[in-house]
Each structure stands twice: as C-alpha cells, then as structure tokens.
C-alpha cells in the first residue's frame, strides 16, 4: 500500500472563460507525516492547487487522491481528514473569536454545540486555551468581536481554528502572512509539535522561503507548471555552488597562489572561490595571510530565484 497521503497525477485546471491553463499537467506526491512546501511567485497556481486538493474547487482533468481517497468520489470523507488556513481571511467578523472557533469545531463534528463557551465540554475549553496560548491570543481577545481584533490577531485566530479538529493533513496557504516574528516562530514550533505527536502531514505554500528550509520536500511551481521538486538540500546542490570569499593584504600573492593550485575563482570586491565538497582542503593549501575569510552557504531562497530565472528563460 502506498505511503503517499497526497497523490496528484497530471492535474489540469482551466477557469471558466479563460484560455490559459492555471494548472498545467502537474504531478507530485506527499508522504504521510511529510512537511511539504509548495513555492512559487504570485499567480503561479499555488492557491488553485490547494483549493482543488481541499475539494473547494473542481479540477478540469487529472487524478487527485488524499489519504488514498479519490477526490471525485469521496470529497466529504476527505474533508473530514483535512484542515486549512486560507490565504484570505475567512472569519465571521460579527462573531467573537471564540464563537468562530466553536462554530468550526461543531461543523467538523468534534464537539456538540452549546450556546456559550462555559457550557462547552471541558476538552474543548482546554484545547482552545492551549492553542490560543501557543499563538499568543490572550483571553480578553478570545471573547472580543473579531472586527475589533488586529489583522495579525485575526490570522492567529484562523490558525487556532484550523488546528482545533487536529486534521491528518493540514494545508497552510500563506499562514504567517501578517504575523510578527515571535508569533511566526511560536506557530512553527507548535506545528512541528503537532506533526511529531500526531503524524500530521503539512502542505505549505508561503512567500517566506526561509519557512520552507525545514521542509522534507519542496516543489517550485511557475506559470502553472512544476519547475522543480526535491528536498531543499538537493535543490540547492543542483543549482548553486558553495563559495569561499577570500581576500588578503597581498591580494596579488593570493591570486597567484590560487592560480598555481589550478582553482577557478573570480575577483570582484573580494576573491570568490567556488567549492564542491569541503573548503578545508583549499584553505589548508593557502600560505598567504588572509584578511577576509567567509563561507557562503546558498539558501533555499537563492535556489528558488535561480530556478525561476531558469524556468522563465526556458519558457521565453
């Protein structure tokens, strides 16, 4: 039996009245308990993909399975197993924060509806207090009308709401947009805890590339097509070389020494020496006294930008 919790094969989506495909024959899979990041520029097709996977948008063609269930035949069963934080806020601003959470918990069948927070089961109250503490919603804000909460606080509320039913697969569509650094860190810590304790699969789309650094796998989507799909480490390795940034008071001496060692290098503000495995070997051979020594490790963001450039050139 397949260990994949999400399986997408040749997925295509064309919105009504448009000629261009929003999703153009994409395929990928996500394993159980995996942290999967879906990256791409605005309009690349990330939200369209997430909407199809969460059954709120119909596909044009292709095959999608969530937890082994076909999205065409078992959409309601799938909805029981998933949770989502939407890109656009989807709160009822006329209700209080807690009423929004209670509504969600009840339509997911986790708890029976009661007209007040105090009348709700203890398990619900404890869970709400636990989650609100994690994202930093104080009890005052919890019982305030949503329209009186700041944008950041509303985002935190959406996060609490999506976790109240402890889904098997959690879709996060730009979840930390509008959150301060402390709340972002706290949220990721909690999501990591949820993942480890409950085996929740995380499907993330984000603009903060650093949030995808810890992902098990990353897919880069551009113009509706998958540009690359691999682990962050492999993506970085495949495109970018690691570099040593060197300089010396005796720059000419250093350049001569690097040339004599047959090392490739470029000279800009400093001397850039690309390396593949370990910088130790290069450094051990240098005798010129160095005034600058830095090791440049490429980030996932560097790789992401490189992939997009490459992909756009190919499309042009």
């Amino acid at each position: 039996m397949s260990n994949n919790v999400i399986e997408v094969k040749n997925l295509v989506k064309r919105y009504k009245g448009t000629k261009k495909l929003s999703i153009d024959d994409i395929s990928f899979s996500v394993k159980k308990n995996e942290f999967f990041a879906f990256l791409g520029p605005n309009g690349a097709g990330k939200t369209t993909t997430i909407s199809i996977l969460t059954t709120t948008l119909g596909k044009t063609s292709g095959e999608v399975k969530i937890a082994g269930l076909d999205i065409n035949k078992h959409d309601r069963a799938i909805r029981k197993k998933i949770g989502i934080i939407f890109q656009k806020p989807s709160l009822d601003i006329q209700l209080t924060a807690e009423e929004n959470i209670r509504f969600h918990a009840c339509i997911y069948g986790v708890f029976n509806y009661m007209p007040t927070f105090k009348l709700m089961p203890k398990a619900y109250r404890d869970k709400v207090m636990e989650l609100t503490k994690v994202v930093g919603i104080d009890s005052d804000a919890l019982f305030k009308s949503v329209k009186k909460l700041s944008g950041g606080m509303q985002r935190k509320l959406e996060i609490v709401r999506s976790l109240i039913h402890t889904p098997e697969v959690l879709f996060l569509d730009e979840p930390t947009q509008g959150l301060d650094a402390e709340s972002r860190r706290s949220l990721w810590k909690y999501i990591d805890k949820v993942r480890k304790q409950l085996g929740t699969t995380i499907f993330l789309t984000t603009h903060y590339i650093d949030e995808a650094e810890n992902a098990d796998n990353v897919c880069i989507i551009n113009n509706g097509k998958i540009a690359a799909c691999s682990s962050p480490e492999k993506l970085k390795e495949s495109l970018l070389k690691q570099e040593l940034i060197l300089d010396a008071k005796n720059r000419d001496g250093l350049i001569a020494e690097l040339s004599s060692l047959n090392l490739h290098f470029t000279v800009n503000k400093h001397i850039i020496v690309p390396y593949n495995k370990s910088p130790q070997k290069i450094l051990a051979q240098l005798k010129t006294e160095l005034s600058v020594l830095k090791i440049h490790e490429p980030t996932l963001e560097d790789a992401y930008i490189e992939f997009l450039k490459k992909n756009n050139k190919m499309e042009a």
């Binding site: 059954t55 989807s90 069948g109 409950l198």
Partner: protein, 262 residues
C-alpha cells in the same frame, strides 16, 4: 489531542450538530445587530400600516381585517426568511463560505441550518405585525396564533428553499437584494395574501398557482377558520412540501456547483 482526533459519532448526529451550529450563528448575529432587530419589527409595521391602513379605509374594508393580518403574517414570514437567506451572499463576499464548504458537513445541512436561523428571525418579525394589528383593532385568538406559530416553520422552509435557487445563481449582494424583492413582492399580491384573488384573470391565476405563498396563505386561513380555503389543508400541505423539496434540492445543488465549478 488524541481524544479529539478519535472522537466519533454517527453521521446523522454530526449533521444535526452542524445544522444547530449554522442556525445558532444566524441567531447570535441577529441578537448582536440592533439594526436587524429593529428592522424585523419596523418592516412589518410599515407594510401592515401602509397597505393595511389603505385597505381598511375603503368601503367594506373593515371586514378584511383578519384576512389581511393573516396574509401579512404569512408574507412577512416568507419575506424575512428569504432575506435572511441572502446572507449567504454576504458570506460569499467575506469568504466565510469557504470555511463552511471545506468542512465535512453536508451542503443540505448548511442550507437547512441557514433556513432555521432565518426562521427564528422571521418568527420574531411576527411581533411587529401583531402589534400593528392590535393598533388597528384586529385581534387573533390564542388558538389562531398558536396555529400560525405551529405552521410558521413550514412557511419559512418553503421561502428559504425558493430563495436557494437564486443563491445558487447570484454572487453579489446588490443583485441578491434586487432578486429578493422580485420573488417576494409579486407573491404578496398574487397569492391573495393582501387582496382576494378570486376574480384574477387566467395568467394571474396560473402564476398564483405556482407561487408557494398561495398555498401557505390558503393553508393558514383555512386552518384558522378566517376564510374558506381554495384547497383542502392536505392539498396545501402537500404542495408546500413538494415545492420545498424540489426547490431545496435544486437550490442546494446549484449553490454547491457555483462555489466549486469556477
């Protein structure tokens, strides 16, 4: 965490719970909106005052008191329910619809919950109509009032079901408000709610027969003994149930499709 994730109950109970949550949301919003509360009382006052006042002023109009009050009560129940259902368009505009549609609850539970919430508001609005009736010296007996109260969910359900057909086709608040007026106003006049329709021409008669309000008004007047009914209570009841079922199914399918098939 494990405790909540392994929580199980039968699908029927789960759907009932969802229906209660959806209905409760509308009731909470109603009590939090002073404007809505005032309007639900004032609107029947205006309608009854305007139309009723004029009718009572014409020769022989005094005898139409009870006839008109019951007609107005039924009209307001239908109208307020239909307008309450228009909040689905608000939910669409504020993206709250996606929160409901991504949940495992059935689309029928969503719609039934909305109708129950709107029914509550509609029943509250009956108070305004009854107050103006009292002012105009039109008094219904306790038995008659209880019978109307008993039948009001049925009337509201057919109103909510009819409006769902529009909800499946309309996505803007402006259009929704206009459409609500289009489906409620003709019914008020063609169903015999305000004025008798015995002498209508063929076209108006046919139109009146396809309007749910005709059967609602006739049923209520018949069982309260205010006017001999055109149809037997059973026929009226069957027509209302049939219209509710057909409109609910078509409306819910249209609504779900319009959200998903973009």
């Amino acid at each position: 965490m494990n405790k909540t994730s392994t929580y199980r109950k039968s699908d029927i109970l789960r759907e009932l719970n969802s229906i209660i949550a959806v209905a409760a949301r509308d009731i909470i919003i109603f009590f939090k909106s002073p404007g809505m509360m005032i309007m639900s009382i004032v609107m029947p006052l205006i309608m009854m005052g305007m139309i009723g006042g004029n009718m009572m002023g014409i020769p022989g109009g005094e005898s139409l008191g009870e006839f008109m009050l019951v007609g107005m009560l039924v009209s307001m129940l239908l109208m307020v329910t239909i307008m309450g259902m228009a909040s689905l368009v608000d939910d669409h505009e504020t993206d709250f619809t996606q929160e409901m549609l991504v949940s495992p609850m059935s689309r029928y539970s969503l719609v039934i919950g909305k109708i129950i919430g709107s029914t509550f508001v509609a029943i509250i609005s009956m108070i305004g109509t009854l107050i103006i009736g009292l002012v105009m010296n039109i008094v219904l007996s306790i038995d008659q009032l209880l019978l109307i109260l008993l039948l009001s969910p049925l009337i509201c359900f057919v109103g909510g079901a009819v409006s769902m057909i529009l909800m499946g086709l309309i996505k803007s608040k402006k259009t929704a408000n206009f459409a609500m007026m289009i489906i409620t106003m003709p019914q008020m006049f063609l169903s015999g709610a305000i004025i008798p329709i015995n002498d209508s021409n063929l076209l108006l008669l046919v139109l009146s027969r396809i309007m749910p309000m005709t059967y609602c008004v006739d049923l209520v007047r018949g069982v309260t003994g205010i006017q001999p009914p055109m149809f037997s209570p059973l026929t009226n009841f069957a027509a209302i149930i049939l219209l509710t079922f057909v409109c609910l199914v078509i409306g819910t399918v249209l609504f779900a499709r319009s959200e998903k098939n973009r």
